[in-house]
Amino acid sequence: MSRVVEIPAFFDDKGFEQFAHSFSAGSITDRMLFDARGAQWASPYGLIGMLTAGQAVKEAGGPPPAFAVPAADEVRRYWVRAGFFGAAAELFELHGKVPKVKVEEVSDVLLSVTPVRAMEDVHGVVGKIQEGAARILTNELGLEPAATARFGMALSEACQNIVEHSGTSGWVAVHAYTFRRRLGGRRVVVIAVGDAGVGFRRSLEATQARRFGDRWGDAAALEAAVIQEVSRFRDPGRGQGLPGIKRYLLRWQGKLSIRSGTARIAIVPPWDEDVPMTESLAPFPGAQLQIVIPAKEGAPTT
């Protein structure tokens, strides 16, 4: 009998914890059913979270989990446009109808779920996204035109972390949507990057564990990387990616959060009520990064 992993109805970074709890409730090699029938909406972070779980099962040698697709046609169509099912078909046994959807040229899906396996993929991601990003960032979010280039730089650095540190491949996706409750219903652009790799703790262990002593763990590793800006490489030129991302987010009042293992760290802008560090979360493979860039106050809401 399969163990059921519940997919939250609204699957964003908050819903992710419910998902991680359900996923980690048994062995990773259990026969599992990912039940998304009740799903009504998923952010790119949620979509990549499901793929990451599937990849972790595959890499652990577990049987491919069954995946019950959302019952709502509109949701299925959105997930197709977001590139989710294309990637999921390689990791799950899909159950249910997956519609064929024509790709829209102008869409809120700025970048569909895209694998990041090597540095060449980062070039592709950055190259592909610029036109759509310019449209959303300037017209809808009211940011200065130069923001498009800085957005591309932040995206590039986020994707490179997978190739440099995870020890495996991962995914990136970028969507624009409207917050329902937060920020008074303002538009946001959300970048989600995730992998099922070694995570921050193992990546930094050789160079940082001794310095932290008994405190060493997932939270300390995230603190070292995000707050203290250390790198696992001894070359003094390394470790400039995350500081660069933080610098841009400060300018845009954006939010950065990174979850790895059992901890999650966030650089929290004034509009959000998140906490800077959360520990003792349900264990989840690899690392998951999310960047939220909000529309400037006064920008038109859609």
Partner: protein
Amino acid sequence: MMHTIRLDRVLRETVNTPYSDLVTRATGRAVRTSIRQTIEALEGGTALLDFSSVGLVDFSCADEVVAQLLLEKTDDVIVVLGGLREDHTEAIDHVLTHHSLAVVVQESPDGRPRLLGLVDREAQEVFERLHAHGAADAETMGQDLGWEAGRAQDALDTLVRLRLVRQEGFTFAPLPIP
């Protein structure tokens, strides 16, 4: 003599990409190796790294292409940057500051070369003075700025160490930039 190295061309020759973005550390390393080979073939002079047809430059690539190149030293060739957009400038300034380096940028709104990276205010002032009034020794520079000669000498030494001006005997001169 000024030798212009178009980075968009180096990128296309070095990396198999249809894009013009200088992104990723691996790309930066490959581009730097190619620049290095070009520079080694030069017999002194100035190498202008021309960014004018480059798309994005991310921090990792900026570190590899510019900061690591300056750290490696470039024999008798002075490296100067040109064709920078505002976002290029930000990324390169960030990595140079990280390494306590600086570089001369060929253009600025007033047409004079400017500095990018970590340079103290005194060195900056002396650099601007040299470009406005031409070569000078430390004593003359000190008199012009109303400083003690030792203070001017320190600033000039900083600029020489960072390869931002030329020293010939006791005289300091701007880099030969058209």
